[in-house]
């Protein structure tokens, strides 16, 4: 039943996206031209990738507020290394960014696991620490395009079969995460731990270790995104992606990932990110002022939360309704 419900929820979101496209293209037919759609997808690619990392964390009933700071720190490390030693191959830098991100995510996970500190507190703390570290490393200086090597900047933008590498990487991550979530025991453990931690313990699943794995995975994804970000925009500074953690969480929430854990899908998170990306791209086209853009994005989030809460209420009625008896 849950699968059916999710499917219909995803269908709903896909419908909303189609409607949005139809509305905009009615006035600006060029908006739905394949090149433009591909451009919007590429624009949203990093958000999609990050939202999938966050999905893993949220499924285990945790949250990672430090993803954007992690991204910025890994991006800065890659950019500074490239500026200092242009000879290091891009592949090595990419691997380094992923490993650094995974290590930073593992710190979050270890604090949650070993010290039992609530995830929101841990990642609020590490969010500030990681941002602070960027300042310490860079001394507040920017790494600009002219300091970066050509291969470094070209990596994300290079085209392969008509699409930028960045888009291809997003496809790859989506596919890998879909397999992980539906076909790997670890993915199943994410759902179990978030759905009912006590029963997960009885099933022989180590709740702390599973959460640690989710945080590490999210960290690795943030690291990957860090390199992609600085490569794409060809600049690195302390404040890149500042506040982006909220976009990531919003994408998950719109996509139907339950903040209470245990419910959600890769497809939902991808659609949620796409929806957000589309709004950001469409509203300027139809000449909506930046203030209204924010308000509309916000409204979309609230509508999504209400819709999801309803759907969840139906799925979990037995528990929710009984709690009402006592209330």
């Amino acid at each position: 039943m849950m699968a059916r419900l999710l499917k219909s929820r995803e269908a709903l979101l896909a419908g909303a996206i189609a409607l949005l496209l139809a509305l905009v293209s009615w006035r600006f037919p060029g908006f739905v031209a394949p090149e433009n759609l591909a451009r919007i997808f590429n624009d949203t690619a990093i958000l999609i990738i990050l939202a999938l990392g966050q999905t893993a964390v949220i499924l285990t009933r945790c949250i990672d507020l430090s993803m954007a700071a992690n991204l910025a720190l890994c991006g800065m490390v890659a950019a500074m290394l490239n500026a200092a030693a242009p000879g290091i191959p891009v592949g090595a830098l990419l691997a380094l960014a992923i490993l650094t991100g995974a290590a930073l995510g593992a710190i979050n996970g270890a604090l949650v696991w070993q010290l039992g500190i609530p995830p929101i507190v841990v990642t609020l703390g590490t969010l500030t620490i990681y941002r602070g570290l960027i300042f310490v490393l860079s001394g507040g200086e920017w790494v600009n395009a002219h300091q970066m090597s050509e291969p470094f900047k070209d990596f994300a933008r290079a085209e392969l079969l008509g699409l930028p590498v960045l888009s291809w990487i997003a496809f790859l991550v989506v596919a890998a995460m879909a397999v992980l979530m539906t076909r790997a025991p670890l993915g199943r453990a994410f759902y179990a731990v978030g759905g009912n931690p006590t029963a997960a313990i009885y099933a022989g699943i180590d709740v702390g270790r599973t959460r640690f794995a989710a945080f590490t995975l999210a960290g690795a994804i943030a690291g990957l995104s860090g390199y992609l970000w600085v490569s794409r925009y060809a600049v690195a500074y302390v404040d890149i992606a500042a506040g982006f953690e909220l976009d990531i969480i919003a994408a998950c929430v719109i996509g139907g990932i339950s903040i209470a854990g245990g419910i959600g899908s890769v497809g939902g998170a991808v659609l949620g990110a796409l929806f957000l990306g589309l709004i950001k791209n469409a509203l300027p086209v139809v000449n909506v002022s930046p203030f209204w853009q924010l308000a509309i994005s916000g409204t979309a989030i609230i509508i999504a939360v209400v819709a999801n809460a309803r759907a969840e209420g139906r799925a979990r009625r037995i528990i929710l309704r009984k709690a009402e008896v006592l209330a």
Partner: protein
């Protein structure tokens, strides 16, 4: 469709009359035109297989669900309950099958949440609340201090708190959905007394149970549910066991527990000097291959606590463990599972099922290694495994990919048992395996246990149900206050002996 042949019935007027009550869920018709009458000063027993719709009816009567069709009349006037407080205001209270209480609050707060006594200024009157809570707990014979935090209580005590909560509102109709499932015989006896008192006060009681002895002992009337319909009813004194079973299941069920003689082999698990700082002391026993070892005792005797330590949920402070004669250590459930020991917990809601995951994924959760190839789960094998075990246990579900939370209480219990049997363990610990399970399914579970024992599986069965202990165990260990007080062989074992040992009464020499 209520059959009411007896003349004594017509003399009374019903307090509550239901007619044509129907309720559907996606893909399931839980109730299909139920008619039922409940009389003051009488106990009406509601019986039926797992998933027959009993709890759904309770939820409709308490305003948690709204019926799709039908009318409810209370003392002649038609009523409709749109929320739980409507039903409470109309004088209907219920002990639900799955008790939902608040872990972090005290017992007194749990009992009075939402209707706490107020002081003159409209604030909660704490002393009065504690006093009233103590009085209520005393009334049901529960020895629990009102200040205790709920999280510190075991399952049975929690259940007593839920009973106290139901009785804390002034009610004319008291509904009890399997109230004795988590209690031992001592608390059950107190509950029966309480029911007698409620009857004498003129309350109408609706009593749901799968236990036939108690239905005959305390009910005046009965109504049998099958597939959401009342298929028969009348005065309890005018029916018998066989007729009820036939109405319920549509065939007769062998009531005798079918433990077949199995070849008892070498010891597979030896425990000695096993102790825990607060829960149990100096526990020693041996479990052999093909044996069913029963653990009997009163609630709070420490049986579940030992099992949780054996399974690695908690740690024993001292003692040794040998598996197949070799010293072993178990620190986590994963280690226990790896050594072939699994534990079917008593509290299925919290410790058993994962709501939000489909039924088949709940079952395969600890067996994923078996249904995977090269690290990838194979959905077809997963489904096949789930289907095999749920079929053996009589699970009634619309489809195996439904959310496990949509199953009836007894069917969730079967999911939890199936989950652990599917791991093909060497040793299985079953904690109250047939709690809340209907009579037909119970026979199926017992038959399956026998078959597994015959194939060489060793079973520890914790049970508070004396017939189950007597019928299924090769040997019975009786516990009292955290210690083993007797280890009795199957031959010559009687109910009296068990009860005496558990209560600490010495046999007259």
């Amino acid at each position: 469709m209520l059959h009411a042949p007896s003349t004594s019935i017509r003399a009374k007027t019903p307090l509550l009359t239901l007619s044509g009550i129907s309720k559907g869920f996606p893909g399931v018709r839980a109730l299909a035109g139920v008619a039922l009458e409940i009389f003051p000063g009488e106990v009406t027993a509601l019986i039926g297989e797992n998933g027959a719709g009993k709890s759904t009816l309770v939820k409709i009567l308490t305003g948690i669900y709204q019926p799709d069709a039908g009318t409810i009349r209370l003392g002649g006037a038609e009523v409709s309950f749109r929320a739980a407080h409507d039903a409470a205001a109309a004088g209907i209270t219920a002990i639900h099958q799955e008790t939902v209480l608040f872990d972090e609050l005290s017992v007194a707060e749990n009992i009075f949440l939402g209707h706490a006594p107020r002081s003159r200024f409209g604030l909660i009157d704490w002393p009065a609340m504690r006093r009233n809570a103590a009085a209520l707990l005393d009334r049901i014979g529960a020895r629990i201090a009102p200040e205790t935090r709920l999280r510190d209580l075991g399952l049975a005590s929690r259940h007593l708190v839920a009973i106290a909560r139901a009785l804390s509102v002034e009610a004319r109709i008291v509904i009890m959905d399997e109230p004795t499932a988590s209690l031992s015989h001592k608390e059950i006896a107190e509950l029966y007394e309480l029911i007698e008192r409620l009857k004498a006060e003129g309350k109408a009681i609706l009593f749901i149970s799968h236990k036939f002895e108690e239905i005959f002992r305390i009910s005046d009337r009965y109504c049998v549910f099958r597939d959401g319909e009342c298929v028969g009813g009348g005065m309890t004194a005018e029916t018998d066991h066989n007729e009820l079973v036939r109405l319920m299941v549509g065939r007769s069920v062998d009531q005798i527990f079918p433990k077949t003689a199995a070849e008892i082999g070498a010891p597979v698990l030896s425990v000695s000097g096993y102790s825990h700082p607060t829960e149990f002391e100096d526990i020693g026993f041996e479990l052999r291959r093909g044996e069913i070892l029963g653990f009997y005792g009163l609630i709070g005797a420490g049986r579940s606590e030992i099992m949780q330590a054996l399974f690695g949920i908690t740690r024993a402070s001292s003692g040794t463990l040998r598996i197949d004669g070799k010293a072993a250590r178990i620190r986590t459930p994963a280690e226990a599972i790896a050594q072939g020991i699994v534990y079917v917990p008593e509290e299925r809601g919290q410790q058993g099922t994962i709501a939000g995951l489909p039924i088949f994924q709940n079952i395969t959760l600890p067996s994923l290694a078996k249904t995977s190839r090269a690290g990838f789960i194979r959905l077809a094998e997963e489904f096949a495994l789930a289907r095999e075990y749920t079929a053996r246990l009589n699970l009634r579900a619309a489809a195996l990919d439904r959310d496990v939370g949509t199953l009836s209480g007894g069917n969730q219990q079967k999911v939890v048992i199936a989950k652990w049997l599917a791991t093909r363990p060497k040793i299985i610990i079953l904690d109250e395996p047939t709690k809340g399970v209907d009579i037909g399914s119970k026979a199926a579970i017992h038959a399956f246990m026998s078959e597994l024992a015959a194939r060489g599986l060793s079973i520890i069965m914790v049970s508070s149900e004396i017939p189950e202990i007597l019928g299924m165990s090769d040997r019975v260990i009786v516990m009292r206050e955290g210690r083993i007080v007797a280890s009795l062989p199957r031959e010559g074992l009687g109910a009296e002996m068990l009860v005496r040992a558990a209560a600490g009464i010495r046999e007259a020499a």
